[in-house]
Amino acid sequence: MIAELVGLALIFLGVFCSIVGSVGLVRFPDAYIRSHAATVSSMGGAVVASFGASIFALTVNPAFSIKAFIVALIIIFTSPTGTHAILKAAHKSRIPMWPQTFCDKLKEDKKIG
């Protein structure tokens, strides 16, 4: 019973984070800042919900629990990699930034060497 309650609490946290992240995805001004909201939604939403499902099934069905944990691990490893790849491509093809951006370390590094 305790495991089911903890699992449901984690799933609710995941639903809250995913809705907050999608609202940020709509309201933020440019692609680089929107990736922040997308990360909130992937990490706080999908990973925490899958982890909660893993804990939810822990006492009833351990094999099920291990599978859900593996899903959470796959999202943990692939989501930052995909975001890094697409944003590096965006910076290389000079997608414009928000006009009030004041710091672009990658551009400074390319200028130096």
């Binding site: 089911e4 449901l8 799933i11 609710f12 995941g14 639903v15 995913s18 809705i19 992240g21 999608s22 609202v23 995805l25 709509v26 692609a31 929107r34 990736s35 997308a38 939604s41 992937s42 939403g45 999908a46 919900a49 899958s50 499902a53 939810f56 099934a57 069905n61 094999a63 099920f64 599978k67 859900a68 593996i70 899903v71 796959i74 999202i75 692939t78 989501s79 990699t81 995909g82 975001t83 790849a85 697409i86 944003l87 590096k88 491509a89 965006a90 290389k92 093809s93 000079r94 997608i95 414009p96």
Partner: protein, 92 residues
């Protein structure tokens, strides 16, 4: 499984589907290609979470294999489109 837990799980699935619908607005409107790719990547991850929650709703372990497949396919799609965006100029 007892009945109130099934109702709660239905509510959580509806909440994540609401988040996917809000992100779909950015996928349609997004001014540049990376916006659309980021929104699509996020939607794939949330769909994975929906499938995991549905698998504990129906008590069906086969749905978790579909969840693993969705996560990996979303990642491969993001990498492919990022290689495609990389060689192009400003805009779409």
């Amino acid at each position: 499984m007892i009945e109130p837990i099934k109702t709660i799980l239905t509510l959580t699935v509806l909440g994540i589907i609401l988040a996917i619908c809000i992100a779909f607005y950015r996928l349609v409107k997004g001014p540049t290609a990376p916006d659309r790719v980021i929104a699509g990547d996020m939607m794939a991850n949330l769909a994975t979470a929906v499938v995991v929650i549905l698998s504990i709703y129906y008590e069906e372990a086969m749905l978790l294999d579909i969840a693993i497949l969705l996560a990996i396919l979303g990642f491969i799609g993001t990498l492919a489109i990022s290689k495609y965006v990389e060689g192009r100029g400003v805009g779409d």
